[in-house]
């Protein structure tokens, strides 16, 4: 199934004003934002939609604190949509709405949808790094700028808490053609759909049923400097850092997670590994050393000449 990745996450929230402000400050482009909800997009057109938790047109809510109500996947073409529809109709209801978007539920009850992808191909450069042996930045081109465009580039991945990770994984792998690239023992798999080489667009974590829902979602930035700069800007606006900045081992992506009013963490990530079918999945127990190569914490700026700020 030529599924590329999540195009859009749809949330039904308690505090629309707070969520709209949050996603605006996070750096997404504001397509619309008002008392009834909002739509926020990355540079490639992927994004997050905010609606009221009482919106009757949303798939039903879980009986947990989760606010993610639907994950909309982008697929390569109409024939992929037909193949997904035929596959899922074998054992569950699949609805096709007026726009041709398919709607169904996975084996854990997460609402999923499929559309011909809305994402635009980006023609942009990554952060250019100079190093002895490989000079990549033009002479006189300065890497650091206060007015750097920190708009996230693309919706990277979403992470679910699930009560039966084996069954949850089997659905995505056997029915939708995802592949496991790595896994944490007793925790869950990193899953890659067939239409991308990104290390993962879905990670799942085994938890008790009362936790079921979204753990976090994240957007790809242009590189580690953008993760640092966007995260620092977010901290300066008063937002609460949860974990990071740092660099994961599985996927190698730089990360910085924040608390949010969307009922889950929201992350900035960058520079994820790519894998193809020749990659062999790794498996290690979860732990602090396994989760990151290094971890830092934001602090106030300082220059030598006096004691550092506490």
């Amino acid at each position: 199934m030529n599924i590329i990745g999540p195009d859009r996450l749809i949330f039904g929230v308690d505090d629309i004003v707070a969520c709209n402000q949050y996603l605006t400050d996070y750096g997404l482009k504001v397509v619309r934002s008002g008392p009834e909800g909002g739509l926020f997009e990355a540079l490639d057109g992927t994004g997050v939609e905010i609606r009221a938790k009482t919106d009757p047109t949303l798939p039903p809510a879980f009986e947990t604190a989760n606010m993610l109500r639907e994950t909309v996947y982008g697929v390569a073409d109409a024939s992929t949509l037909e193949a997904i529809e035929a596959e899922l109709r074998k054992d569950r209801e699949v609805k096709r709405d007026g726009a041709g978007v398919l709607h169904a539920f996975d084996d854990m009850g997460f609402a999923i949808a499929f559309q011909v992808t809305c994402r635009r191909q980006l023609t942009l450069e990554a952060e250019k790094v100079n190093a002895p042996g490989s000079l990549n930045r033009a002479v006189n081109a300065v890497a650091t700028r206060d007015d750097e465009d920190l708009t996230p580039r693309s919706l990277s991945h979403v992470v679910y808490f699930v009560p039966d990770v084996a069954r949850a994984e089997a659905f995505y792998v056997k029915r939708l053609g995802f592949r496991c690239t790595d896994r944490f023992t007793g925790v869950g798999p990193f899953l890659q759909p067939a239409g991308t080489q990104d290390h993962h667009t879905l990670f799942m974590i085994q938890t008790p049923p009362f936790l079921k829902g979204c753990e976090h979602f994240t957007f790809h930035m242009a590189g580690p400097s953008q993760v640092m700069q966007a995260g620092s800007r977010f901290v300066a606006k008063g937002y609460q850092s949860f974990w990071g900045p740092g660099r994961h081992r599985f996927g190698s992506n730089w990360f910085w997670y924040f608390n949010s009013p969307l009922g889950c963490h929201v992350e900035y990530d960058a520079d994820m590994d790519l894998h193809d079918a020749s990659w062999t999945e790794r498996e290690v127990p979860m732990g602090a050393d396994a989760s990151q190569l290094f971890l830092f914490q934001s602090r106030d700026k300082w220059a030598p000449g006096g004691p550092p700020p506490k």
Partner: protein
């Protein structure tokens, strides 16, 4: 609760004046690892530490409550807490409680004890 004991009798850390906390709102004190919730004259002080993963709970400075101001929210995973008992009523730490931090009022200020090693 009134103004409380006169200042000369008390040893503790003064967080802020009651008037500095919005009525129906909350205020965080990261240096002490606590947050205050005010409902009219009633003040509750809680350890800013969600029982799920022992992390700070706000999503932004001073933002600890749901939209209606009827529940405390942990903005890690959206867990909801009863504002009277501190018990988690929905979410990741169902049934666990926030830790209440004893306080007293001194000349209209909210004061927590200094012998609490985390203060």
């Amino acid at each position: 609760m009134g103004a409380g004991r006169p200042a000369a009798e008390v040893t503790g850390r003064s967080l802020c004046a009651v008037a500095d906390v919005k009525d129906g709102g909350a205020k965080g004190f990261p240096a002490h690892g606590v947050f205050v919730v005010r409902r009219g004259e009633r003040i509750d002080v809680w350890r800013d530490d969600c029982p799920h993963q022992n992390v700070p709970m706000a999503w932004r400075t001073d933002e600890y409550l749901n939209r209606e101001g009827t529940r405390i929210v942990c903005a890690a995973h959206g867990a909801l807490f009863d504002m009277d008992s501190g018990e988690c009523v929905l979410g990741a730490c169902l049934g666990d409680c926030l830790e209440r931090v004893p306080h007293e009022m001194v000349d209209g200020a909210i004061v927590i004890r200094t012998n609490d090693k985390r203060s």
